[in-house]
């Protein structure tokens, strides 16, 4: 008896120290597939850093199983994501697929998740339809519609009557445009002009002149993060900031990761989004401090919380199943889970497996010499409006 407990204690210490290779049944593997090379590297880095941080803070043993994270780079190419996902299932025997930085990457993997009954946690990609592509998909990021619709609500409530929209000419841009316009019009607003800007070599100057001539109350903008800096600079150069036209949009344009490089032109931009580095909760302060300590020079953004909460979701689901990795049982455990994230209270919609979260209205301000999205209003329990409208 004594000997057995001694052995157990020895095994436990060895496991905790990670010095003994755990056997196959005792290890649960999470396959994290993210872009670590190519144009979407920053997204991948944020996701990986957050996932590793969560595991460092919460340990790597859940319900008696050792958790192992396998990270692979797909370079943002759908065929790589699909290949890596099937290799991970076949060769590494992963129990969870996670990551997915862009919509096509998630779409390519969805049938693989369905076929193999492996839960697939979408930590970033934001097109509404993704969760409908497989009953094994759960999303911890956001949908584009959540921010686009809420900023429309906010604008309508705050004496903005006439808006010009300007989006980058690609599928997410089109979604951001249509969600905003339909919501804003239903609240009695007027959209006087809709401008689409080419995705390659964006130059907003000629379009901004048209905006100036149209004299709207606000300019609604959606661009891939990073491009926003050019826009804001030209917005100020063309004198639109002095004409009384406000700049509003979904939070992607003032991504916390790149915002510090935007310069003072960004001050005053109002956006709606699910997370700000500046979110004033104790949980978030702790999160930001730990994240910055582990990753010097990086600031956690909305992608990072998707990764952090994604791993949390996996841990909680395993706790509920008692360490069982049956796909259907895990999915049942994930549905309806509620918890306090660094971004605030969130939950998984049991019907759609999509995220329900608070969307905040934020304004870019300078604090201690650094730019932040400072939250000043919130819309709690926002579901994906696209799926809600289908009902």
């Amino acid at each position: 008896m004594l000997r057995r407990s001694f052995l157990a204690a020895l095994a436990a210490t060895a496991l905790a120290a990670g010095s003994l290779p755990a056997t196959a049944q005792e290890t649960v593997k999470i396959g994290l597939i993210i872009p670590l090379t190519g144009p979407f590297t920053t997204t991948g880095k944020q996701l990986e850093a957050a996932a590793r941080l969560y595991m460092q803070q919460n340990g790597t043993t859940v319900a008696g199983k050792k958790i192992e994270l396998i990270v692979r780079d797909d370079a943002g190419r759908a065929e790589n994501t699909a290949r890596i996902a099937s290799e991970m299932i076949q060769n590494d025997k992963v129990s969870f697929l996670a990551g997915f930085g862009l919509t096509p990457l998630a779409m390519a993997t969805a049938p693989i998740a369905t076929n193999s009954k492996v839960p697939m946690v979408v930590m970033m990609a934001g097109t509404s339809i993704i969760t409908e592509r497989s009953p094994y998909i759960v999303r911890t990021s956001f949908t584009l519609g959540q921010s686009a619709v809420i900023i429309a609500d906010w604008a309508a409530q705050n004496k903005i009557k006439k808006v010009v929209t300007m989006v980058t000419d690609y599928a997410p841009g089109h979604d951001a445009e249509s969600s905003f316009i339909s919501q804003f019009k239903s609240k009695g607003g007027e959209v006087s002009e809709s401008i689409r800007v080419p995705i390659q070599n964006p130059d907003f100057a000629p379009f901004l002149q048209r905006v100036l001539d149209a004299k709207p109350d606000a300019l609604y903008v959606f661009t891939p993060s990073g491009v926003g800096a050019i826009l804001m600079k030209q917005f100020v150069e063309r004198g639109l900031d002095k004409s009384g036209i406000r700049l509003i949009g979904p939070g992607d344009i003032t991504d916390d990761d790149v915002l510090p490089g935007f310069g003072d032109a960004a001050v005053g931009v109002v956006t709606a989004h699910n997370y700000s580095t500046d979110h004033p909760s104790a949980k978030n302060k702790e999160y930001v401090a730990a994240f910055r300590k582990a990753n010097p020079g990086m600031r956690p953004n909305f992608a990072s919380v998707g990764g952090y909460d994604g791993i949390h979701l996996i841990y909680e689901a395993l706790k509920k199943t008692g360490g069982k990795t049956d796909g259907d049982a895990l999915l049942a455990a994930m549905k309806g889970l509620k918890w306090e994230s660094p971004r605030g209270p969130i939950s998984i919609d049991p019907e759609t497996r999509d995220i329900i979260q608070t969307i905040y209205i934020r304004k870019v301000e300078k604090k201690n010499g650094e730019l932040y999205n400072v939250e000043f209003a919130s819309f709690p329990d926002v579901k994906d409006p696209v799926k809600a409208a289908k009902k």
């Binding site: 190419r77 759908a78 699909a82 290949r83 290799e87 096509p104 779409m107 097109t127 690609y170 997410p172």
Partner: protein, 328 residues
């Protein structure tokens, strides 16, 4: 005349290394089941690189936009399957013909000018095709990708949808057939006339070779090959996205071909295998530095082998061994 015909026949006879290669490829179906997903990708990139080799290695046409035909073939195959018929071989034929037609039309632009002009024109064609695919998102899905493509069993009997091993067999057979055809093409009088044009266009035309017609023909064939490669990728990955047609893909295929060696037909296969295996294994260790190593390898290969790639290094070793043997 008879002598010439005999010489051509000798040239196109199979080298013993080719038998070894295809036997190894066939053996991999049984021996490497865990790597079939990767091998499928290698075979598809190989076919794509082979199509570029027909242009660059034999006709001397430099292209920085070969993904235009690859992506076009992929979109055509996917849309054909969604709207009409999901049998994969039919899809390949339709995609090949469509990409070939696009190649035929655009070849008229590529004929003009020298290497530098061709580089710019091919790049331009690919950028235009990319933007068209992005703009017509009602048809192509744009940046969200095109999904929902049905993949029926090959010829109605051999299922490949989500069966990794079967997909690999299917792709390998297609690669084999198209390589045999390419071998016939480059070792035909037509193929030799291409090499003559590559060597010296003025002299070629002075001995009566219709340079432009020959270049149009090879460009069309290469575009059709690229289209088939794109269609294969679409059928084995259930989504077609803008990355099928982007500049990175045109650049990568050129890299693979140059690493392997131009003008061997097998150069693209060796290059894409090295590239993808290195990407996978170096990438697993240090994803961030993978690009550093591929750049480093490229510089080394360019220094030692020029555009003849890894293949020419093998060749030199074999030649040196033969010399030794002859001496002893």
């Amino acid at each position: 005349m008879k002598e010439a015909a005999a010489a051509l026949k000798r040239k196109r006879a199979w080298h013993w290394l080719e038998y070894v290669f295809w036997l190894a490829a066939a053996a991999s179906i049984f021996l490497l089941p865990s790597q079939h997903a990767l091998l499928t990708q290698i075979a598809i990139w190989s076919l794509f690189a082979l199509s570029l080799d027909l242009l660059l290695g034999y006709a001397g046409i430099v292209s920085l936009g070969h993904a235009a035909y690859f992506g076009f073939g992929a979109y055509v195959a996917a849309l054909f399957a969604i709207n009409f018929y999901g049998e994969p071989v039919t899809g390949l034929l339709v995609a090949g013909v469509a990409a070939g037609l696009l190649g035929l039309i655009t070849s008229l632009l590529v004929l003009r000018g020298t290497d530098l002009t061709r580089l710019m024109v091919t790049l331009g064609i690919a950028l235009v095709m990319y933007e068209i695919a992005n703009q017509m998102s009602w048809l192509t899905g744009g940046a969200d990708g095109l999904t929902g493509m049905p993949v029926n069993p090959v010829l109605g009997v051999f299922p490949i949808y989500f069966i990794t091993t079967n997909s690999y067999v299917y792709v390998l057979v297609v690669l084999f057939i198209l390589l045999v055809i390419a071998k016939r093409i480059v070792h035909s009088p037509f193929g030799y006339s291409l090499r003559a044009i590559k060597g010296n266009p003025l002299r070629a035309s002075s001995i009566g070779i219709p340079n432009n017609l020959r270049l149009i023909a090879v460009y069309t064939v290469a575009a059709a090959y690229a289209g088939v490669a794109g269609a294969l990728l679409a059928q084995t990955t259930p989504v077609v996205s803008l990355t099928y047609i982007d500049f990175q893909r045109s650049a990568d295929v050129l890299l693979m071909l140059i690493i392997g060696g131009t003008g061997y037909l097998y150069g693209g296969i060796v290059g894409s295998a090295l590239f993808l295996v290195a990407q996978k294994f170096i990438g697993n260790v240090t994803p961030q530095y993978w690009e550093f190593w591929i750049g480093f390898a490229l510089v080394v290969i360019a220094l030692f082998a020029r555009d003849r790639g890894v293949f020419s290094i093998f060749e030199r070793i074999i030649a040196a061994l033969r010399k030794e043997k002859a001496k002893s």
